[in-house]
């Protein structure tokens, strides 16, 4: 067996007593666990426990994440393939931003609920979910900057700056506090705010803050002026401008030397804070490391260091700096967290490692499935055949969608995901869609629509059969029949038609006349069904007193062998009133045929020897019926011959 990447997590089943054995069975997303005694007798526990790995799909707020991202996913799949990838990049970036804004919206809502809830346990749970979403958004944003946007040197740093600023919101809060106080320059957090601004490269705001300090210390005016001019002259690369990267590099080096000179000249020696700022501007690592609490993360340290040491960093050089920054920032004793190793893998441009680590760290396939799908559309994943035969993107989407299918409501989203997995999606869908519980007709109709749109005729038949059986159980024969017609299931239609006919024989009337009267071309589905329809037609004709047509129909039912032999007696009995009419309805020819049918019927009846338990009464009734029929037929024949032989004068 291959080695495992991480130690498996242990889950305790609280209700199971100590020392007992547990049996289990795998489900699509969970395990069913039960106590077992390995003995045939003895009282056992009558509970079954369901162990779920993924609690998130049952959270009402996170559900919005699944629904909205499904919408974005479907939109992504329908982007036209024929555009060259150069034009598609902005589209992909905006889709990535959409995903991220959905994550943010969820996060804010969770945050609000976490704050307002009174239940401590729920508050911690919400808090955990918020921090996971924060981490997810951080990783996604970095992937967008590095992989999807794929900024070249120069703009790369600007994007990374934006990334860090977005994820370090506490600076603005602190700044607000400071500015709203009576004397901002004397607030105890004042210099922290100024230094944080510098660390994030927000030099405009730094200058505005310093002005407040400058007014308080008129004696040091020249020093503040010098700092202000240094800050204003720092060059930032403008990707849309005409300046090339080399020109920018030259300018930046000039500026850097100027700052260095100021430091060597001890221009800021008298003011400790300004000296620190100057050292940061020069990119002094020790000074930066002194402000670990303000930086709070190694990647902030990385970006700041790059800003003030190597603003023209190339994407390929990133990982050197990343590795060294991480080592410098973190204590040698502390273990890197999963988030850190994921970010490091991203800086190394190792997409597969990022995805793998995320899959392990998170309990839900949502993030990796959507991110991989987006990266695949950007053509960034090499087609990497896994042992299971499909590629990485498809594997992750299949796992995610299978997890969705176990949810009582979100299964509809999963259908679209399966649709966009070309190799195995259809097979997975066929297996899963049959297992959706069908409580109402409306849900069955929706499931059927899904199957019919994808030409899954096996599944259509199976679902219709389930609904038809349910209808049969409640004795709703009409409904059962319409379900089997929809499935084009001839065998079942035959069964139901039999039931109809039995019903008729027992009660003398048909139920669900509406349906049988209006079968239309569906009648041809099965022989028995055709007979049922035609028989009902016969009844209608009789009711409308169109006896001649009724008679013709009746006869054709028997001679064309549409009617089952068992029903012939009933048909012949139905013919009796027609034979007894004053007017001659059956012609001689027809009467001969009727007699022939009767003979066929009685001869077959006679060949079966009457069993000892067959009551005498039944036989008597049968015999009487046959006698009556023979008499009626004979009389009719006589009248018919006379009538046909008469010449009309």
């Amino acid at each position: 067996m291959e080695e495992v990447d991480v130690e498996p997590a242990v889950t305790n089943i609280p209700a199971a007593s100590d020392g007992k054995h547990l049996g289990f069975a795998w489900g699509p997303g969970d395990i069913l666990v039960y106590e077992t005694l390995y003995k045939a007798k003895g009282s056992g526990c009558s509970f079954i426990h369901e162990v779920r790995k993924d609690e998130d799909i049952y959270s009402p707020i996170l559900r919005k994440l699944f629904n909205e991202s499904h919408h974005i996913f479907v939109g992504l799949q329908t982007i036209r393939e024929d555009l060259p990838s150069k034009n598609k990049k902005p589209q992909f970036v905006s889709i990535s931003k959409n995903y991220r804004s959905v994550i943010r919206a969820c996060m804010e809502e969770l945050q609000q609920v976490a704050v307002s809830t009174k239940d401590a346990q729920m508050a911690t749970q919400y808090g955990n979910q918020v921090s996971i979403l924060l981490a997810i958004e951080l990783i996604w944003n970095l992937c967008e900057v590095l992989f999807i946007d794929a900024a070249p040197a120069g703009s790369l740093l600007l994007h990374l700056l934006d990334w860090v600023r977005l994820h370090k919101a506490d600076v603005d809060e602190k700044a607000r506090d400071v500015l709203q106080s009576e004397s901002p320059a004397e607030h105890h957090d004042y210099w922290d705010v100024v230094v944080s601004y510098v660390l994030q490269g927000r030099l405009e705001e730094t200058r505005q803050m310093l002005v407040k300090q400058a007014t308080l210390q008129p004696a040091a005016r020249n020093m503040f002026k010098l700092m202000d001019s240094l800050l204003s002259k720092m060059p930032f690369y403008n990707p849309g401008g005409t300046q090339t990267l080399t020109e920018f590099d030259v300018k930046w080096r000039h500026w850097h030397e100027e700052v260095d000179r100021c430091l060597q000249d001890n221009s800021f020696a008298s003011n400790q804070h300004l000296e620190i700022i100057c050292k940061i501007l020069v990119g002094d690592e020790d000074t930066l490391l002194m402000h670990k609490e303000l930086l709070s993360t190694w990647y902030h340290f990385l970006v700041t260091r790059l800003l003030f040491c190597h603003p023209t960093v190339k994407p390929t050089e990133l990982h050197y700096y990343a590795q060294s920054c991480m080592t410098m920032f973190l204590d040698s004793r502390s273990v890197p967290e999963p988030l850190d190793s994921i970010l490091l893998a991203a800086f190394e441009f190792d997409i597969h490692q990022v995805i793998k680590d995320c899959s392990i760290a998170l309990n839900n396939w949502w993030f990796v499935a959507h991110l991989t799908d987006l990266l695949d559309h950007c053509k960034l994943l090499q087609s990497h055949n896994l042992h299971f035969g499909s590629n990485l993107r498809e594997f992750l989407l299949l796992e995610y969608a299978s997890g969705l299918f176990t949810h009582h409501s979100l299964w509809q989203l999963a259908v679209d995901y399966f649709d966009h997995c070309p190799e195995f999606g259809r097979v997975y869908l066929e297996l899963q869609i049959e297992r959706v519980p069908l409580d109402t007709e409306r849900k069955a109709l929706k499931v059927l629509r899904i199957c019919e749109q994808r030409q899954m005729s096996e599944q259509v038949r199976s679902i219709c059969k389930i609904m038809a059986m349910r209808a049969l159980r409640n004795n709703r024969l009409g409904s059962a029949l319409s379900w089997s017609i929809r499935a084009k299931d001839a065998a079942f239609a035959t069964l139901i038609s039999e039931r109809f006919l039995q019903d008729y024989c027992a009660r003398g009337t048909f139920s669900d006349l509406d349906l049988i009267d209006n079968l239309g071309p569906a009648m041809l589905l099965s022989d028995r069904l055709t007979f049922l329809g035609k028989y009902r037609e016969f009844h209608k004709l009789y009711g409308e007193k169109r006896f001649r047509e009724a008679a013709k129909l009746l006869l054709s039912l028997m001679t064309a062998k549409i009617a089952p032999r068992s029903f012939w007696m009933t048909l012949l009995t139905d013919a009796l009133p027609l034979l007894e009419q004053k007017e001659v309805i059956f012609s001689a020819e027809q009467t001969y045929e009727l007699m022939f049918c009767l003979e066929e019927l009685t001869s077959s009846l006679n060949t079966t020897t009457p069993g000892p338990d067959r009551p005498m009464q039944e036989e008597d009734i049968e015999l009487t019926k046959v006698e009556l029929l023979r008499l009626a037929l004979a009389r009719n024949l006589a009248m018919a011959i006379v009538k046909e032989g008469t010449v009309e004068t």
Binding site: I61, N67, Q412, L413, T440, R473, R476, G478, N518
Partner: protein, 368 residues
């Protein structure tokens, strides 16, 4: 399209309905109710869009529906109607019919009356598929094929008729129309004591199940239905027993059709294929008016017969049925393809609809 907002609500919406506003005040509707389905715990909820006329507030989220209150509901909500300003009636998949009362002051909802298993089979529950009311009378129909008449203030059931049914609407005060899974439109008259329909209309040829029906607000003989194949049929109940015109509207089941209550030249349909169409007919003559903007559907109209003489001016544009003369326009109202749109309601200039993608869309500037 900018005026349409989507709000994700973590439950698949099966029905949405505007709370009625009195016509004397020209207020736009601001509260609607929704019912959910396919959840382990289904709910009915009241939402407000805070539309208090032009108060000059220009917040970014002024249009976002806010949840007022909700109540749990046993079984899927298969139909929902407002009985009056405070009460709604719901039809459940467990066969129960429930009246809920909304207490405006405390913003709570409570159960006012409950008829459990009103619709039932011998062994199982039969879902109650449609409910329609004209206070204090409530008529419900169900999969077990019964039409049950309740009175809101009494406990018992007033009358039961049997026939398999999908949806129901009032034609006149004493007459109702039902549609069923064999594609028949049946008219029932309560004044007669018999338990059979007084009139049956149907499409010849393929019997396609019909899912929804609505009647023209002013001309009560005009009825529109929608069915499993997504065709919109307009019927004239007075004459003939076949539909007047057929239009291909959607590519999948049509779940709801509504005439606009005050401006009946406009019709709205929503469907399983995820689209919501706005049909507009113009009563002027002869000016072909297919606009280039928007996304118009080209559709075929097969009119069964020309309007049978009589007073031209009284014949509604719906019955003229000839769309090739440019009298009928359709526009898609939702921005892009979504999962099935299960329900819609329109009042004044506001439209609300709910989808299987667990989203509610509200449009406050419907061009009527």
């Amino acid at each position: 399209m900018e005026s349409i907002n989507a709000k994700y609500v973590s439950q698949k919406i099966s029905k949405t309905r505007w709370k009625p506003v009195s016509y004397s005040t020209l207020q736009q509707p601001d509260v609607f109710a929704t019912g959910s389905w396919d959840n382990e715990n289904n709910k009915i909820s009241y939402w407000s869009i805070g539309n208090h006329g032009s108060s000059g507030m220009d917040d970014g989220f002024e249009g976002d529906p806010q949840l007022l209150c909700e109540h749990k509901h046993d079984g899927d909500v298969l139909d929902l109607q407002f009985l009056d300003q405070d009460r709604i009636v719901t039809a459940s998949s467990t066969g129960a019919v429930t009246i809920f009362r909304h207490h405006q002051n405390s913003q709570t909802v409570s159960v006012s009356k409950h008829w459990a298993r009103a619709h039932r089979y011998p062994c199982d529950n039969a879902p109650c598929t449609g409910v329609v009311c004209s206070s204090p009378e409530i008529v419900t129909v169900g999969e077990d094929g019964r039409i049950i008449v309740f009175r809101a203030d009494q406990e018992g059931v007033t009358r039961v008729i049997a026939a398999p049914i999908h949806a129901v609407t009032y034609l006149r005060t004493t007459e109702i129309l039902t549609v069923n899974s064999i594609g028949q439109l049946k008219l029932w008259d309560f004044r007669q004591q018999s338990n059979s329909p007084s009139q049956i209309l149907s499409l010849s040829g393929d019997r396609v199940p019909l899912h929804c029906v609505d009647r023209h607000p002013n001309q009560q003989h005009i009825v529109a239905t929608g069915g499993q194949d997504g065709m919109l049929c307009v019927w004239d109940v007075r004459q003939g027993n076949t539909p007047f015109s057929l239009m291909e509207a959607h590519s999948a089941e049509m779940w709801e059709v509504h005439f606009h209550p005050t401006n009946p030249d406009h019709l709205f349909t929503c469907s399983e294929d995820g689209s919501l169409l706005h049909w507009e007919t113009s009563s002027q003559s002869d000016v072909p008016s297919f606009l280039q903007g928007g996304r118009n559907n080209s559709m075929m109209s097969r009119s069964a017969m020309a309007p049978a003489g009589g007073n031209q001016s009284l014949i509604s544009a719906w019955l003229s049925g000839d769309s090739s003369k440019g009298r009928l326009e359709t526009t898609h109202m939702l921005p892009s393809q979504t999962l099935s749109v299960n329900s819609l309601d329109v009042l004044g200039q506001c439209l609300v609809c709910g989808t299987d993608g667990e989203a509610i869309f509200v449009n406050r500037q419907v061009p009527v």
